[in-house]
């Protein structure tokens, strides 16, 4: 009997559909709750970051490929969309499509190159390409991208009515895309393809030994992760109406890596929780700390130091991030509970 891994790898189990709907409802409720707590103004940006972190979780958490260059594809999506809006027409859909196509094409080409390496080399060669992309936008392409000054762009309202420059619509649109991305990744990671990708993380030689062309699956996962990152970038452009080389800066990568790790790599819920925790550290500590230090009348360190402390804590005592730690606690309390 011949087993056909290629075809079996992309089928979807129908049994998980109910659970998926429940999770989507939970995610939507969580987003609405968050929108009540903080200002709606921030929610579109947060949703964009959530999508970016989810895409990175596929590459790093599920496939075990740590990259320092994921922002290249976020930036390609953002700049692709912005350049279309400025030099093409004002259609938001076309701009998104251009950003996605640009990043997918880049990922397809560069993926064939970077995936020949692994470990530290993979992380650093991606950083090298990201650095080169950052430079291209900043200097040689400055005639189009306006370099360091950045590019302002305006998109027509969606369906002629929904303006993305209104906070609520922006949140609704980005939130809907986030739900769609979550559903897609959830189906993908639970499918045989997802299992294969996770097996590559655990032991690539054995997967190859079973007769799978691992390079092809790594390449597909890399292109998917990069394209979803570009989707986040395109949304960023549409919502902000402005891009600058900061969106493609390699320094953005650490934010994404840490968000995934704080929550717990290799789980979509973990990535989302980590992204929320990271945004809380990054956005609220700079507000709270000056207040607190005025109240206590001492000079307190800024948020970066606290992030550093959190990172050391994760490595040395909270292995597996928030989600992993909670899961381990629950499992210890109920030994009969289902093990992952």
């Amino acid at each position: 009997m011949t087993f056909m891994p290629e075809r079996a790898a992309f089928s979807v189990q129908p049994a998980a559909r109910g659970a998926l709907l429940r999770e989507l409802a939970l995610l939507a409720a969580g987003l609405l709750l968050l929108a009540l707590v903080i200002r709606v103004h921030w929610m579109a940006d947060f949703a964009v970051f959530f999508i970016l972190v989810l895409s990175f979780d596929l590459l790093y958490g599920y496939m075990g490929h740590l990259s320092f260059g994921h922002m290249l594809y976020f930036g390609a999506g953002a700049y692709g969309a912005a350049l279309w809006l400025v030099y093409g027409n004002a259609s938001a859909w076309a701009a998104l499509a251009v950003g996605l196509a640009a990043a997918a094409g880049m990922a397809a080409l560069l993926g064939g190159v970077v995936l020949r390496t692994r470990g530290a080399s993979f992380a650093l060669i991606n950083m090298a390409f990201n650095e080169i992309g950052h430079f291209l936008v900043q200097s040689p392409l400055a005639a189009y991208t306006l370099g360091e000054d950045g590019l302002s762009c305006t998109a027509d309202p969606l369906f002629g009515a929904i303006s993305l420059y209104e906070d609520r619509w922006a949140f609704a649109f980005c939130g809907a895309v986030l739900l769609a991305v979550y559903a897609l990744l959830r189906l993908l990671t639970r499918s045989p393809f997802g299992l294969l990708v996770r097996s590559i993380r655990e032991n690539e030689s054995r997967v190859r030994f079973l007769g799978y062309d691992t390079f092809r699956f790594k390449w597909i996962a890399f292109v998917i992760a990069s394209t979803i990152a570009a989707l986040a970038g395109g949304l960023f452009t549409l919502v902000q109406g402005f891009v600058s080389p900061r969106v493609i800066s390699p320094f953005g990568n650490v934010d994404v890596i840490f968000a995934v790790l704080i929550g717990g790599a290799g789980s979509l819920a973990g990535a989302l929780i980590g992204a929320a925790a990271f945004l809380a550290i990054k956005n609220f500590l700079p507000v709270i700390i000056p207040e607190l230090s005025r109240l206590l009348d001492v000079k307190l360190p800024q948020w970066e130091l606290w992030l550093g402390v959190v990172l050391l804590l994760i490595v040395f005592s909270l292995r597996g991030g928030i989600v992993g730690t909670v899961q381990a606690r629950l499992r210890n309390r109920k030994p009969a509970g289902e093990a992952q």
């Binding site: 790093y60 740590l66 190159v113 020949r116 390496t117 692994r118 470990g119 530290a120 080399s121 992380a123 650093l124 060669i125 950083m127 090298a128 390409f129 650095e131 080169i132 950052h134 430079f135 291209l136 900043q138 200097s139 040689p140 390699p250 320094f251 650490v254 890596i257 840490f258 790790l261 000079k299 360190p301 800024q302 970066e304 130091l305 992030l307 550093g308 402390v309 959190v310 990172l311 050391l312 994760i314 490595v315 040395f316 292995r319």
Partner: protein
């Protein structure tokens, strides 16, 4: 032309000072040590502070900052790096990056974010082939060559150096001989940190000191370590000088492209080199 060459060699020399420690951590422990950038930056800030205390004597302040950084390096090795032994690449990155963030923020808190300029301690220009070359830069280049010679002797002759050289080849093999590799390694780690501080202080008069200087040199030093071959100390020397020249020559014709060209070279080297099994 000569000016470009001297500039390239100066940058290469600084990169070499910084990269030695990074290459050692990479070679023995397979750790990408971001904390190295923090040691470098903190050393320079301590140097600037000591400079006022010792009446602007460059050498005295340098010695004081080196001495002050030894215990800092030891603490990082003992409480962070050593605990990461055998960990996966990513956890090592996160922990050392955490140290870098803490250090950078502490520096911003103590010294503020405005860049500090440092005066050229020699201040003499040597006329060479119709150009005025700062004698200081020539001294920096010569000191890098001297360091290369000294390190070669250290790793070939001294017991610590020979143990570490062997451990770079095969750490488990050395451990099987009953030698405590980690102990020897921690000595070399502190040495590498001191060299980073030395590089930072030597670079300060050419550039300025700012809290993020460690981040910038880290990216370039990764390229040096990759191009030179991870854990290959000879390779690190030649890669540092070669990439320094790449930066200087590119910068002469197209100043914004200097950094990017280093990464082009790095990407090419990763692609053209046969893969190491990991």
């Amino acid at each position: 032309m000569i000016q470009t060459v001297v500039y390239g060699l100066t940058i290469g020399a600084i990169l070499y000072f910084f990269s030695v420690g990074l290459a050692l951590t990479f070679g023995t422990m397979h750790i990408i040590n971001f904390a190295h950038g923090m040691v470098y930056t903190l050393g320079v800030y301590l140097f600037i502070t000591f400079l006022q205390g010792v009446g602007q004597s460059f050498l005295l302040a340098l010695a004081a900052s080196l001495l002050a950084m030894l215990p800092v390096a030891w603490v990082i090795e003992r409480f962070v790096i050593r605990r990461l032994y055998g960990e996966s690449l990513d956890y090592a990155i996160i922990a050392t990056y955490g140290v870098l963030l803490i250090g950078t923020d502490a520096i911003k808190m103590i010294w503020g974010t405005t860049p500090y300029p440092v005066n050229d301690p020699v201040g003499i220009a040597v006329p060479l082939a119709g150009m005025d070359l700062p004698a200081y830069r020539i001294a920096v280049v010569l000191s890098a060559f001297a360091l290369y010679g000294a390190l070669r002797a250290f790793f070939r002759r001294s017991l610590v150096g020979r143990v570490v050289t062997a451990a770079l080849e095969d750490a488990d093999g050395v451990r099987c001989l009953g030698i405590d590799v980690d102990r020897h390694f921690s000595i070399v780690f502190v040495l590498g940190s001191a060299l980073a501080v030395l590089g930072g202080v030597l670079y300060a008069p050419i550039s300025t000191a700012d809290p993020y200087m460690g981040f910038h040199i880290l990216l370039l030093a990764f390229a040096v370590v990759i191009v030179g071959g991870m854990g290959n100390l000879n390779g690190t020397f030649f890669a540092a000088l070669a990439l320094g020249m790449v930066m200087a020559v590119t910068g002469r014709f197209w100043s914004q492209a200097a950094n990017a060209m280093v990464f082009v070279v790095m990407a090419l080297v990763i692609l053209l080199r046969p893969q190491e099994a990991h």
